[in-house]
């Protein structure tokens, strides 16, 4: 199915149809999520009002992991199947994932200070998420580091795939090692450990973030496809100029 959308024009037509829905869902779900998160949900028996930070911290963390998985999948597709749009999808995803990771770290820190008593600890969960942030930055840096864009794509794709081992480490860090960060509350054996009145804003914000991701991803894909076309046009111009000067050189050579 993905090969059907190897054609950029066909992909852009689909993107044009989807984008308004993604935008609408982001606003509606985000608005509803914020209403429940800030107004229509109770304080926690243990953490009081700071539990409201969970409604933006957890969705950010979920998106950080989701985006990296998408990035790794796109890079694998580019390396193995040489799908023409896969590299562009990877480039478009990376900055979004980096932003969500930064938000997970920042909101987590603001939540940790009042609850744990510290802004930061080097436990397995926090350290591995910081590493994830560096992986995103590394991918973006490596991607643009080469004159030849294809070499940049390949090098950064390998980094992204190698770094994927970090994703299960992040997820299971709170189970494998003693950490300050608490274990999972939603996706765990025995069902969620969150009261429904709090699960509602959490899930609304999670889906709002997902819709936002699709919205921004489609925008960035359009930009990446344009950039690809611009490179192609410029390359043709350079070749045309070289051909003309070669002809001119040959003509001059004969005249001499």
């Amino acid at each position: 199915m993905i090969h059907r959308f190897a054609n950029p024009t066909r992909f852009l037509r689909l993107a044009d149809r989807i984008q308004p829905w993604a935008a609408g869902l982001t606003v509606v779900l985000g608005g509803a999520g914020l209403y429940f998160a800030l107004f229509s949900s109770p304080a926690d028996y243990q953490q009081g009002e700071t539990v409201r930070i969970m409604y933006i911290h957890v969705p950010s963390a979920w998106m950080a992991l989701f985006c990296y998985t998408a990035l790794a999948a796109a890079c694998a597709t580019a390396l193995i199947w040489k799908h023409p749009l896969a590299d562009l999808a990877a480039r478009a995803t990376a900055p979004i994932g980096a932003c969500f990771t930064l938000l997970a770290l920042a909101t987590g820190s603001l939540w940790g200070k009042p609850m744990w008593g510290t802004w930061w600890v080097w436990d397995a969960r926090l350290t591995s998420v910081l590493i994830l942030f560096f992986l995103y930055l590394g991918y973006m840096a490596l991607n643009g580091a080469f004159d030849d864009p294809e070499r940049g794509q390949k090098a950064s794709a390998i980094l992204a795939l190698v770094g994927f081992i970090n994703v299960p480490i992040i997820k299971f860090s709170v189970d494998w090692w003693n950490t300050l960060h608490q274990p999972a509350s939603v996706i765990k054996m025995g069902g969620p450990a969150i009261h429904p009145s709090m699960l509602t804003p959490l899930l609304l914000m999670a889906f709002a973030f997902k819709a936002y991701f699709v919205w921004v991803l489609l925008m960035r894909m359009r930009g990446e496809i344009n950039a690809m076309k611009i490179r192609a046009v410029r390359l043709r111009q350079v070749h045309a100029a070289e051909a003309t000067s070669a002809d001119a050189g040959a003509a001059t050579g004969e005249a001499r």
Binding site: L38, F39, A43, G48, E49, T50, R52, I53, I56, H57, S60, P95, I96, C99, L102, L103, A106, T107, L110, W111, K113, P114, Y212, W215, V216, M219, R220, R222, G223, N226, A227, K229, I230, V233, R234
Partner: protein, 63 residues
Amino acid sequence: MSGMETFLEMGGHAGYIWPAYGIVALVLAGLWLASRRFVRASNAELEDLNPRARRKRGSGDEA
């Protein structure tokens, strides 16, 4: 008014909760704006290189 004050105070944890929501709004809005600028700039550049208007308007009218 006391209801609004209680809400803004967030049980004494306002100094953590509002900056958290603030930074999320800032970063997500910023990313969206930067992405929009990216698309618009590349659209403009592509239009410069491959003007479609030339075929429609005829030559000499380019702004």
